[in-house]
Assembly symmetry: C2
Homo-oligomer: 526 residues x 2
């Protein structure tokens, strides 16, 4: 039986507050620093490692974090989750995204079916559909093959699938498995849909409409936009569209779609990349085998998250170090910095994943908590970020913890040697250099050139951005966020904070406004 308690009621947390602070600059200098890099490293799936040598922790702090993990029953809570408990208490729902990529525990039955079997069946259905599209068995009315797939969705139906598509597009090109180019329409701004439609050949495009409820206003608006474009081109829209939705949504059995693939209420939008939401567009773009590899990587990483020993559980360890930074060291934000252009939109996905899950002020029982929860998450790829906001990270008045991600090899394997090194070597040299620069700083009599150091970071190192490693990376962060939600005792799986804006926007459109809202509406000519 697990107990859901607030962080500040836990004895181990009070211990942690009293733990002696680590002087990161001191411990990362000299041979001691080298020792830390060797010791403070834990294997992830696909040969990756999570290295936390440059975090402001030592064995004493880690021991207390381990006790906190135990007292907060993190492993047990995860077990409850994957065995089908109602973890999303606000909406009274199970939380089953792990089942889209593997069976971690008991068979989970809901709605009268084995949910793992249900998700596998959807993937199978998608794989068959994608196979027919790629083989030219499903074509447009003129019998011509589809060359482009366009995802229409917003939030979790957009950010994760888009980030993963961009992560693997060039890998797929290199491995001759880019079956169709993918595009994404998300914003209700009409210029978004119009620009995407201008950039494609609609006659050879297949559109994937993604909305769990079938009622997301942005998505339905953009669907209508697309249907107009298809009609104007003299095409039959129903031959160009598929739906990803829940079985109970109005889209599920509509003749407007070539096919419908199902998700359900147990998969939150931001956790839906490994469900049909990511599956349809990614299987069409890369082939179902590539999507299957992505799922394998995620499943392998999920298994590591089951480990009760925090030091052998990279997601749990990352989560607890994050809690230490947020609640003990009082750092309000975290930067995610992948040294890979392929991961250019991965920080935007993590931003949703983390901030929408744990940006909460009330616990699972609706009581206000007396401590900080989720941090602000932002980031851009390195080395670009180095020439942008790193100035503040190095010398600003506030400390921002950093999450680096680096890979030994490029995707396209085209490179150039300048000044005795390849671009890939320069990329890797930069991330290594940054970790040490942030941790150790540099003395200088000129205070303007002085780096105080003591700025914590961790790094995930892998061989290459490929389907399995991207799956593992996604799983790592999903599970990290989940564990942090357990520690903070919040419900990481609802998002009531998005509702008020929707209600007021409807009121504006109905011209039922007064006070400030009316004035703003007038200023914007609505």
């Amino acid at each position: 039986m697990v107990n859901w308690n607030n962080l500040d009621t836990l004895a181990s947390y009070q211990e942690l507050l009293k733990a002696e602070r680590v002087d990161l600059k001191a411990v990362m200098s000299g041979e001691n620093g080298a020792e830390r890099v060797k010791r403070y490293s834990v294997p992830m799936a696909e040969g990756m490692v999570y290295n936390y040598a440059a975090k402001a922790v030592d064995d004493a702090v880690l021991e207390k974090l381990g006790k906190l993990a135990e007292e907060a029953q993190l492993a047990e809570k995860f077990e409850e989750l994957y065995n089908g408990a109602v973890i999303n208490t606000g909406e009274k729902r199970l939380v089953l995204h792990h089942l889209t990529r593997g069976q971690l525990g008991k068979t989970v039955e809901a709605d009268g079916v084995d949910k793992r079997a249900f998700y596998v069946a959807q993937q199978q259905k998608i794989a068959e559909f994608a196979g027919k599209v790629h083989a030219g068995k499903i074509t447009n009315a003129a019998g011509e093959r589809f060359t482009t797939v366009v995802q229409i969705g917003i939030g979790g139906s957009d950010l994760g699938p888009r980030a993963i598509y961009l992560a693997l597009e060039n890998w797929a090109r290199k491995h001759d498995t880019l079956k169709m180019e993918a595009k994404f329409i998300s914003n209700v701004d009409p210029d978004d849909a119009a620009a995407v439609l201008n950039s494609i050949d609609v006659a050879h495009s297949i559109f994937v409409l993604v909305s769990k409820s079938g009622t997301t206003l942005e998505t339905l608006t953009n669907e209508s936009f697309v249907k107009d474009a298809l009609k104007n081109a003299g095409l039959d829209a129903s031959r160009h569209m598929v739906a990803v939705t829940s079985e109970t949504s109005p889209l599920a059995k509509s003749a407007d779609y070539l096919e419908a693939f199902f998700m359900d209420d147990y998969i939150g939008g931001r956790y839906s990349s490994s469900s049909a939401v990511g599956g349809a567009v990614l299987s069409l773009a890369f082939g179902p085998e590539v999507f299957a590899q992505f799922l394998e990587g995620a499943a392998e990483e999920d298994k590591l998250a089951m480990n009760k020993d925090m030091l052998q559980n990279p997601a749990m360890l990352d989560a607890l170090i994050g809690v230490y930074e947020r609640n003990v060291l009082d750092y309000p934000s975290t930067a995610v910095l992948p040294y890979s252009q392929a991961l250019s939109r991965f920080p935007a996905h993590l931003q949703q994943l983390d901030m929408e899950s744990n940006g909460k002020s009330v616990n699972r029982f609706g009581e206000r908590v007396g401590y900080q929860t989720g941090p602000v998450i932002f980031g851009e790829p390195g080395t670009n970020g180095q020439h942008s906001f790193y100035q503040l990270l190095h010398q600003g008045t506030a400390i921002v913890p950093l999450q680096f991600i680096g890979y030994r090899n490029s995707q396209l394997d085209t490179d150039v040697v300048i000044q005795g090194s390849t671009s890939q070597q320069k990329l890797c040299a930069n991330v290594a250099a940054q970790i040490v620069a942030f941790a150790c700083g540099k003395e200088d009599e000129n205070r303007n050139k002085y780096f105080e150091g003591g700025r914590p970071s961790s790094i995930i190192i892998g061989d290459q951005v490929n389907p399995k490693s991207v799956g593992a990376l996604l799983s790592h962060f999903e599970n990290k966020v989940m564990f942090q939600g357990f520690v903070w005792n919040v419900n990481s799986f609802d998002q009531e904070g998005v509702q008020l804006g929707k209600i007021l926007a409807k009121r504006v459109l109905a011209h039922e406004t007064d006070g400030a809202l009316k004035e703003y509406s007038d200023l914007l000519n609505i």
Copy 2:
């Protein structure tokens, strides 16, 4: 004569700390809220307004902010700057980016020339070059026209020009003035250059190499990458490349380039969008007339920044409200939220502009300051962000001040009516709704559905994202950041914080490492 004093030595700042806090929720409710929206609005260039009704200020706070603006001599400092004082004290340089778009004060002479005339001459040279390219007078060796322009640059040579290109690409398409498609190569990650080169027809591409010093490693590496590609395609690289650099750089008079356009040490990278750095790529992409309109918009907004009355000076007012939020209300970050897909990368540019300028811990005299300086800046376009990180903004434990940007009209003017309103109306309704939702919140017995409100925002409202309004928007934020730097008494125009990483990266590449740095290098197989 101006005095450069630390913020915490100013009497008006001490007054400000004692000012009564404004209950934003209370003042924004009912008719009082409507009154605020009408009153707390100041005109910007191009018919735009800066509206700060939903900021946690009132007449009493504003009066104290006005006194602070006077005591800190913001208008006088700006005057010194545009009249050519050595404002960048660390590097002993003038700060002249305003001169790229207008003459605000006296003639500024440096390096023996009138600098305004120098920048105008460069723009003229670019305009002539672009005109010849567009007219087919400058072609590839086969006599064929160039169709694509590729900017090679990083940091300020990338983020601003890229954000502005994306902002205006569809506007230009709609107005039949998209002369060439633009692409950007920035990251030293070899997959960045390789992917861009795979996506274009190099034989019909012209490359703009941007490096002030001519020594930026990432940029020279990517230049080499591009030259290899041109050679492999049997092309003469020197017929495909132009340089934007300083007159003293090794690139200035090289036979490797068709032409060289000049900037100088008085234009910081992040302030260089209106110099030849933005000028070359944007004039080639859109035509020099469009770039001239962009400069006009910026010049018009610059003039507003000269106003000594804070309440009539949108950049100064925005700056001071930001200081109030950072130093009095203690908010560590700010989100920039444009309700326009065209501005999708504008937040990334502002992130550099702001964090690299004011992410400093020492004042202009190299003394550590005892107060917070520049905040973390992040953002994504709405409505996308609403389905992502807005959960935390509405219901998280920490308050994040918000900067909305909204436009009455779309760029492409293609729209669809769903549920009685256009997409553009929905877009505008959402931003209006969000401001009020953040400020006023919503009572609910269920604490999970309760919105405490009191979350401050401002909004810049314009008619449309077009060349003039983008120029004005850029100028607004450049001047805001400048004024904040004056208040914090930091040098906003150097970036010593980026140096240490470069030095250590070189050491890694030379295999001159020990301790932690050697271990990280080994882990990354360098």
